[in-house]
Amino acid sequence: MSTTSPSDAPPVAEPRFESIPALRESLRQVDYLADEGIAGIVYLADRLGKPILVEGPAGTGKTQLAKSVAEVLGARLIRLQCYEGLDEAKALYEWNYKKQLLRIQASRAQEEGGGGWDDISEDIFSDEFLLERPLLAAIRAEDPVVLLIDEVDRVEVETEALLLEVLSDYQVSVPELGTVRARQIPMVFLTSNNTRELSEALKRRCLYLHVDYPDMEREKEIVLTKVPGITESLADQIARVVRSIRQLELKKAPSVSETIDWARTLVLLGVEHIDAATASDTVNILLKYQSDITKALKEFGDDKAEFAKADGAAGG
């Protein structure tokens, strides 16, 4: 247990990545195609020892980035999924009350009135009775870890404060034990879907990375890597269609994962060439709102729009 001692300052981390191109290449090897911005910022986060706040539309691979970096580093991924009502006991640590109670009872039975409270309290507030939650686990880890704090915008502003100590000093204060410092500065990713403005204090401590939908070339590559057995020409067509669809004003533009699903479907159906008919038959994989589907069909000059509408209505 690494309780505080002044000399125990956060260790200077060995750089994990040699250079930006090298990082990009290693990410590629685990099937994550990073663009220059993404790779650059991950590299920088490592050098500066700072967390990365990743923002962007849903389904653009924010969480996947953290997973892939963990894979590249051969590190354990510790994930804290945020939700409304997340508190200290779920994020940091908790005392194992039941075990503590049992311990008290056991010692009473043993000593029959003997043994002061002091002994017991020394005993029950020790490591043995501490339940580690993700943040503390990441701080105390001996092996390399990557900490992913997912959808941080879901917690209330007040709960955000919980994260600040961890993110800036890589330490956690447990009143009964003192301050626990990190043995190593872990890579930290925070993701946000931007449903609310995060506090200035949190943003200030992080590097900011906005992950947007990939451009056509990159999306094509992603499809090629992620979908086995797809031909280059089909991937190209897919990327083009998706780009065109994203230009429409939609309620929800297709995400990268939806693009991949669509590509898989087309491969399964044995489609070689996307024509209007295949597109409209399978467009419900890309778009999830009926109004979006209607709009897309209308835009792409397809006279089957009426048919598909009826079809969609019958289907759901």
Partner: protein
């Protein structure tokens, strides 16, 4: 090449100066850059190989810009500051030499500023036809380097830039684009692919081709813009240019004076904003104070304490959702504002029990019907602007008449749960004000608010009579940009 920590001497002092100037300009442009972030940026660039311009840019962005809406503003400032400063910045932009086989590069070596003299004047490098051909070819192939060369040539030929002339970049840009006539080029490109294709293009293919070419033309446009900016910066210096190019952040764009491009930005900013508002409002509603004691529930839970009501339970608070009436002036000067507010209100309409909307100029019409049964707010607003019956006599704002008609036809619908929001600048063209209507509304409704898109300093000047109305409302708010509009909506719920 591993990015070593750079020696302070190598790039130290001048780089720091440059960064300080850059950050100062970011602040002037309205970006909130804190001291910590400033230091982070300085630290960050020490780890980045300086010759890598893109990496340098991302390093600065990651440390200084924490809001994606500010990205454009950042990019503009970055381009201005680092387009010329120090050879190492410029190299990256110029390094992409012209493609082989393109005769142009031998005619015109692409070097920063002095090419004019050597060639003995502007536009002697290529004839107009050659340029057009080059442009066409570069777009057809999607060849970045060639596009850049074409953009350069086009600016040289058509912009007619004169040193020291205090004209903004948009003027030159307009001149170049008009001469290039890109719409026609697009049609030519489409024609070309139609001919190339063995079979006639299906509508889908045609659409995809068009999108591709439009995308490339957009890139060309950006190249032209960048080239003009480079030249302006070379001519007039960084600080002066940064000032003229400074653009408001999306949330600060004035509704009444937004350019077409700014309008597009506003629309883009509106969507995340509505989502954020909806989440925030829903959360607020759920987390208010606790409701009254729930007796039944308390007794039920007391059983586990042996009948002692140890844990009081409260009713789930259900504050009533307000009912909203929007009455909007949609005459020319304030139309954009009305459009945005309507859009915003309808986008979060599930936070209200009912939304009814009325638009007027000198006549008034209810437009709720356009929004019913459709998900497409943009479409609905378009119909409001084209189909609503709002002209009574001459199509000049007449608040008095509009209010009077409103009161006679719909006044009875206003109840104690209604919140009335009136949008307009209250420029009444010296007609009768009929402010008694607002007074009556205020008596019956829960709240009446007035939103005015004009700066407060202009209120009650000329034919504006906003104070006369405002005295009968619960508050009149200046609402010139998204930031103020967001604050008001937040206040409303």
């Amino acid at each position: 090449m591993p990015g070593p920590v750079h020696d302070e001497l190598e790039a130290g002092a001048p780089l720091l100066d440059l960064l300080s100037g850059f950050i100062a300009e970011l602040r002037r442009a309205g970006l909130p850059v804190s001291l910590t972030e400033n230091l982070d940026a300085m630290e960050a660039v020490r780890h980045i190989p300086l010759e890598d311009r893109e990496a340098f840019k991302y390093a600065l962005a990651a440390t200084l810009v924490k809001n994606h809406a500010h990205w454009r503003a950042f990019e503009t400032v970055f381009e201005v500051y680092f387009s010329l400063r120090g050879p190492q910045w410029d190299m990256a932009a110029d390094a992409d030499q012209l493609p082989e086989g393109a005769e142009i590069d031998r005619i015109e070596p692409p070097d920063g500023g002095a090419e004019g003299e050597r060639q003995g004047g502007m536009g002697e490098g290529l004839t107009a036809e050659e340029l057009a051909k080059m442009l066409f070819k570069s777009l057809l192939r999607g060849d970045q380097a060639m596009m850049r060369a074409a953009a350069r040539q086009a600016v040289r030929r058509y912009a007619g830039m004169e040193p020291g002339r205090p004209v903004g970049g948009t003027y030159y840009q307009y001149k170049v684009l008009r001469n290039l006539n890109l719409d026609e080029v697009l049609e030519q490109l489409m024609e070309h692919s139609r001919e190339e294709s063995p079979e006639p293009l299906t509508p889908l293919e045609e659409r995809l081709e068009r999108d591709e070419f439009e995308h490339r033309i957009e890139e060309l446009r950006k190249e032209i813009e960048a080239e003009i900016r480079r030249r302006l910066v070379a001519d007039r210096g960084v600080e002066a240019m940064a000032k003229t190019l400074r653009k408001p952040l999306p949330e600060d764009i004035d509704f009444m004076h937004a350019s077409r491009e700014e309008m597009a930005q506003l629309r883009k900013a509106l969507q995340p904003l509505t989502r954020r508002l909806a989440v925030r409002l829903a959360r607020k509603r759920r987390h208010g104070r606790k409701g009254a004691l729930d007796f039944r529930n308390t007794v039920r839970h007391s059983l586990s304490y042996g009948g002692v009501p140890a844990e009081p339970k409260f009713k789930y608070p259900r504050p009533a959702k307000p009912e909203i009436f929007v009455i909007a002036d949609i005459s020319g000067s304030v139309a954009a504002f009305a459009r945005f507010t309507l859009h915003l209100v309808y986008a979060i309409s599930n936070q209200f029990s009912k939304v009814r909307s009325f638009v007027f100029i000198d006549g008034i019409d209810e437009v709720t019907r356009f929004f019913e049964g459709t998900d497409d707010i943009v479409e609905a607003i378009h119909r409001v602007n084209t189909e609503a019956d709002v002209v009574w006599v001459d199509g000049h704002s007449d608040y008095g008449h509009a209010f009077e008609v409103f009161w006679n036809r719909w006044g009875k619908d206003i109840g104690p749960r209604t919140t009335v929001i009136i949008l307009g600048d209250a420029r009444n063209n010296y007609h009768a004000s009929q402010s008694w209507v607002v007074k009556e509304m205020h008596k019956k409704a829960r709240h009446v608010y007035w939103l005015n898109p004009e700066p407060r300093a202009y209120w009650d000047t000329g034919d504006s009579i906003v104070s006369e109305y405002a005295t009968h409302t619960d508050g009149a708010f200046e609402c010139r940009n998204l930031r103020q509009l967001e604050r008001f909506v937040d206040h409303l719920v």
